[in-house]
């Protein structure tokens, strides 16, 4: 399988909008007298060969400045080249009947030949299956070999199939062998670590037309992709202008529907579990999320662009065919004829923001973002941002509810699956994100998302804290905990929404319903906030129901908020008092009663519950202020019984004196 990544010189309009970007700068391999470029997908190596030398670049951690490792091999034609999985051995297909092996350390060589004339070698690949280390695909079938450290090849098994061509990706460990006149009969084997599994034979769908009654499928028409851990096969049906998708199960291959094609040439990439279909003639890329049943694209088609490309300086990678450039249009940038898209590894990343700007259904967008692994933190920040925006834009409550349901369900799922890990507290104290349009250029050093020359960058208008960012960027899941939703969504919009508290309460209720359904807990400050909002809009009936039905979970904080909000409404204050009493917060309860002027009731309660922590002067002063000497006398007596040694205090003395004074003056 020959693979030649390439790029071209272009100038890019800076204002152009796109979902998918090619990373700039790209990796350059300026090797004089290059005879070809190969991509070893198992080792993620970009290999450039000259007549006697092999240059290989690591692409797993993308770095444009990495220097290649160089190996010398004997001269000869090179049809394909792949390193063994330990990178100890370089294997080179010299002809249709010969493969040579070179040990990089011992310089040992070995030549493997097939029966000339009766069969020919179509290609080979290395495997990490326990059964074999190397698979050689021939027209007569597939040979599986074990290879020891001394480079002895031992034939383990032969799968007899007539093969016209084959495709393999290391990512899926799946090899598809095409046979038949139209090459539409497919036999598949998966050489996984669990062993070699034969997939049921299946026929690909091909439409026929009068002009072409027997179309033939070529290897370039078939793509193997892996998204969300599922393996799909995509097959171009040019006559029908459809891209058929097949999903592989352990014991079945099921056609999953078709995507329309708008171009006579087409290729696909996978970025972060998203399928990018490059409509090469139309020079646009359409993004699909195969997770959802809908075959609707995630976003509107937009061109592929360079990211960070500075200007007019010329081309990048040397590439024999593709040196001519097209600068026809500012936006239309890419897709030279010479481009080859490497299915699993040619990684483009979408800008989430562009999608979020072009996708109208927010909840499916959030679902989509919640499935993103590559940029978990950014997806998370985006989700928070979207949720906030939904509320601030006062979208219909049902829409917001759906969106929040999505986030809560995703969180619940990831907690159950053990993906979500609560970060330390310092993280949550990071600034509440604001839309200040911070620079998108942070975070270059991402671990994943590398590619050969096409790289991704996410553009976000979301801010990023400094040190925390690093930590957050290592999040494995974009899931958002209820506490975070409270902090970064509800609490942060409260001020802006205070005049529309009804709306916000509606959304919070739905949020509470959602987390209650998932049996989750949330920061009790959300209840305090709900009390505040309901009181603000004077919805006392509901406040009462919320409290009695425990939608607002009782706590000291909530009770105190009820008391505070009850300044306007006695019934609300009463709810707060009742809550204090039910929580057995005697001290607060008694103090609040006295504050409301119910000092006798407070004292009775104190007497009954033997509460002595409340300052005795509170009762005395209240009674004295109400000028009721009978009460004052009664309180003095009760306090003397309640508090040991009360009669010796100066307080007792003072009020007792006051009492005597008044009563004597009354008597006079």
């Amino acid at each position: 399988m020959s693979s030649r990544p390439s790029s071209s010189q272009t100038s890019v309009g800076s204002g152009a909008l796109s979902h998918a970007y090619i990373q700039h700068p790209s990796l350059r391999c300026n090797v004089p007298e290059s005879r070809g470029l190969f991509y070893d997908d198992a080792n993620r190596l970009l290999i450039c060969v000259t007549s006697s030398q092999v240059f290989s670049w690591e692409t797993a951690t993308f770095n444009p400045d990495v220097s290649p490792s160089v190996d010398s091999i004997p001269e000869g034609p090179i049809l394909s080249i792949r390193c063994s999985l330990g990178k100890k051995v370089i294997a080179v297909q010299r002809s249709d009947c010969e493969i040579q092996f070179f040990h990089r350390e011992t310089k040992q060589t070995l030549t493997h030949k097939c029966k000339a004339g009766s069969e020919s070698i179509l290609g080979f690949f290395w495997s990490d299956s326990p059964l074999c280390d190397l698979a050689v695909v021939k027209t007569s079938g597939m040979d599986l070999f074990a290879c020891d450290s001394a480079m002895n090849l031992r034939l383990v098994e032969t799968k007899k199939v007539n093969v016209n061509w084959y495709i393999y990706t290391h990512e899926s460990r799946l090899v598809l062998l095409a046979s038949g006149l139209q090459c539409k009969t497919i036999t598949g084997f998966q050489l996984s670590t669990a062993g070699v599994v034969r997939l049921p034979k299946f026929e690909m769908t091909l439409a026929t037309t009068e002009s072409n009654s027997k179309p033939i499928i070529s290897p370039g028409d078939v793509h193997l992709i892996t998204v969300y851990g599922r393996i799909y096969c995509l097959q171009v049906d040019m006559e029908a202008m459809l891209l058929h998708t097949y999903r592989f199960y352990r014991d079945a291959v099921v056609q999953q529907g078709s995507l329309p094609i708008y171009s006579s040439k087409l290729s696909v990439s996978v970025v972060d579990n998203l399928l990018l279909v490059h409509q090469i003639d139309a020079k646009v890329v359409i993004i699909y999320d195969l997770f959802v049943d809908s075959r609707a694209p995630v976003s509107a088609p937009l061109p592929l662009l360079w990211r960070g490309y500075q200007g007019s300086d010329t081309s990048s990678q040397q590439e024999n065919e593709g040196t001519e450039s097209s600068t026809s249009s500012e936006n239309i940038v890419m897709y030279e004829d010479a481009w080859t898209f490497l299915v699993p590894d040619l990684i483009l990343d979408q800008t989430n923001k562009a999608i979020s700007a072009s996708s109208s259904d927010r909840s499916s967008l959030l679902e989509f973002l919640q499935r993103r692994k590559l940029e978990a933190n950014k997806a998370k920040q985006l989700c928070l941002g979207i949720a906030r925006t939904l509320i601030l834009e006062r979208r219909p409550a049902t829409q917001v509810t759906q969106a929040i349901d999505v986030l809560v369900t995703a969180y619940s799922y990831s907690v159950k699956a053990g993906i979500y890990k609560e970060l330390k507290n310092e993280k949550t104290t990071a600034t509440t994100p604001t839309n200040d349009g911070a620079s998108p250029d942070n975070e270059r050093g991402r671990a994943s998302g590398s590619s050969i020359d096409e790289e991704e960058e996410v553009e976000m208008n979301l801010p990023s804290g400094s040190a925390d960012e690093q930590q957050e960027s290592q999040l494995s899941s974009p899931a958002i905990s209820p506490d975070e939703l409270y902090k970064f969504v509800f609490a942060s919009v409260e001020e802006a929404m205070v005049e529309e508290s009804d709306y916000l309460v509606a959304i919070i209720t739905e949020f509470l319903r959602s987390i209650s359904a998932e049996k989750l807990k949330v920061d009790l400050n959300i209840y305090v906030m709900t009390v505040r909002l309901l009181a603000h809009s004077k919805r006392f009936a509901e406040l009462s129901l919320f409290t009695t039905n425990k939608i607002i979970e009782p706590s000291k904080e909530v009770a105190l908020q009820l008391l505070e909000s009850g300044g306007q409404n006695l019934r609300v204050r009463k709810l707060g008092l009742d809550m204090l009493r039910q929580l057995s917060l005697h001290h607060e309860y008694i103090s609040s009663l006295v504050q409301d002027g119910y000092y006798l009731e407070a004292l009775r309660y104190a007497q009954k519950r033997k509460v002595t922590s409340v300052r005795s002067s509170l009762f005395l002063e209240a009674a004295f202020a109400s000028n009721d000497m009978q009460h004052l006398a009664a309180i003095l007596r009760v306090l003397s019984e309640l508090i040991p040694g009360f009669k010796e205090t100066s307080e007792y003395y003072t009020f007792h004196g006051l009492l005597n004074e008044t009563s004597s003056s009354v008597a006079v």
């Binding site: 219909p396 409550a397 319903r513 006392f540 009936a541 009462s544 009463k574 006798l600």
Partner: protein, 495 residues
């Protein structure tokens, strides 16, 4: 007195306006309502005259609160000043043998209730009088309204043994001590919900609220005869709740189906009042919101009635019930939707419908579209979690708890209260009467009393009253000590 031949002699109820009929010979103009209507004019005048005299006299000593009750040997006169200078007076016969033992506050509660309901549907009596100074309209509306209200109690006796003769059945039976001792008129009974159900309900409330677009509308949800949710103020809630339980809930509809005869007024038309009101009926557009058997469940789940007219006449919205919300001081359309035991009331401001281009049918459509599925689910969920009519029964106790601030009460189920011995109930009734008296005397702050009394039959009757809550209880376990009784109080009241 010879004309008092009908079975209603045990009850007289009148409404009169002290500002009317000041000159001699015009006294009849004072009377806005009198029951029984067939009573001759002179007797009517003597009842109102006596009442007015008492009011004027007691006002000399207590200008703020004139007389509340007059206890005569055979009758009790209960006074209630519904609006300034508009008085309602109820005269009931006392008879220990027939069980005609009353608690005055309970009777006054009925007067308050019927007045509140009247205001909810027609606005205040004073406003009606100002609108139409002859009083014809007021009388025309009051007459059927109060009669329909009283027929509720008539109904009760009828449905118990409903094959009896109509005339016997027509006899009014005001709720006596058996019914009033462990219940509190003018309060709402709530359904206790689990948190997750409460959240579902609240979510439904929000959907209902949004059915009228951006308009602020109100809603109330009942499950059987219990309140599930409301967005109205306590006063409005209580009124609407009372009305719903009387006429709208699944049980109210069921009982009207069971006795599917239409109520016919048996008035002879001989007395002047009834003949005037009869002739006025044709002049004024009289609406009888409390008329029985007038609500039916439509195919779409909404309850329909022709009380407000027929949909065919005039604008399509003219036949929709309208009520007056006190707190918001606005008139609202009342839409009632029912699914099994769940009754939902939706209140739409009339101004928005008339001026804002909101159509009631569009709102109905929204409710069906957006909420009907949730309603179904919630009904199912509540039904599953509900313990039946004895859900709030506490074994060994017969109790009533009232939260006077929130206008909410909860009591032992009536079936369980009925198992109490008559002596216990009478003792508790007596105790309540005393407490009522004490309550009206004491300042709010000082309301704090706890009374445990051992009745003759060894039952404990208990009252505990605080600033905002009241508890009444009867324990019939003879072995219980006072300590047990106070323990029980502690268990029922943690305040």
């Amino acid at each position: 007195m010879a004309s008092m031949s009908s079975g209603d002699e045990s009850l007289r109820l009148c409404v009169f306006d002290l500002r009317r009929g000041q000159t001699e010979g015009q006294e009849l103009d004072k009377i806005l309502f009198f029951h029984p209507p067939e009573l001759d004019v002179s007797t009517q005048l003597s009842v109102t005259g006596l009442s007015e005299g008492l009011i004027t006299f007691t006002r000399l000593f207590s200008p703020e609160a004139a007389c509340e009750v007059i206890e005569a040997e055979r009758h009790s006169h209960v006074f209630f000043e519904a609006e300034t200078d508009i008085w309602m007076v109820m005269v009931v016969e006392k008879n220990k043998d027939t069980g005609a033992i009353w608690r005055i506050d309970a009777l006054r509660g009925m007067l308050k209730e019927v007045h509140s309901l009247f205001v909810m549907f027609h606005g205040s009596v004073r406003a009606l009088l100002e609108k139409e100074p002859t009083g014809g309209l007021t009388r025309a509306q009051l007459y059927p309204f109060i009669t329909d209200y009283l027929s509720t109690f008539q109904k009760r006796s009828r449905s118990e043994d409903w094959c009896c003769d109509l005339f016997v059945g027509k006899k009014l039976q005001l709720p006596n001590f058996r019914e009033t001792t462990l219940s509190e008129r003018g309060t709402v009974q709530m359904l206790t919900l689990a948190r997750d159900t409460a959240l579902e309900v609240q979510s439904l409330v929000q959907v209902l609220d949004s059915c009228a677009g951006n308009l602020q509308c109100h809603s109330m949800i009942l499950f059987q005869d219990l309140l599930v949710s409301t967005t109205l103020s306590p006063d409005d809630t209580t009124n609407l709740f009372t009305f719903a339980v009387m006429r709208l809930t699944s049980q109210a509809l069921l009982s009207s189906d069971a006795s599917s005869w239409s109520y016919l007024r048996k008035g002879t038309g001989s007395s002047e009042t009834s003949s005037t009101s009869g002739s006025i009926d044709s002049q004024h557009h009289v609406i009888r919101p409390l008329q029985n058997d007038k609500w039916k469940k439509g195919k779409d789940g909404f309850l329909v009635t022709d009380v407000w007219g027929l949909e065919t006449g005039g604008s399509p919205d003219s036949a929709i019930p309208i009520v007056w919300l006190q707190q918001r001081q606005e008139r609202v359309y009342l839409l009632a939707y029912q699914y099994k035991s769940l009754t939902l009331l939706l209140l739409l401001p009339t101004t928005a419908v008339l001026n804002g281009g909101l159509s009631v049918s569009a709102v109905k459509h929204q409710v069906i579209e957006q909420a009907s599925l949730r309603i179904m689910k919630i009904e199912e969920k509540i039904s599953r979690g509900w313990g039946g009519e004895n859900a709030y029964h506490v074994k060994g106790y017969r109790y009533l708890v009232v939260d006077t601030d929130l206008e909410v009460s909860r009591a032992s189920p009536s079936g369980k209260v009925a198992t109490l011995a008559k002596e216990s109930l009478l003792a508790l009734n007596k105790l309540r009467e005393e407490v009522d008296l004490e309550k009206s005397r004491a300042k709010r702050q000082e309301r704090d009393l706890e009374i445990c009394i051992r009745a003759k039959n060894n039952a404990w009757v208990i009252a505990r009253v605080s600033r905002d809550k009241e508890l009444y209880m009867a324990l019939e376990k003879a072995s219980d000590t006072l300590l047990d009784a106070t323990d029980a109080v502690g268990r029922f009241s943690n305040w």
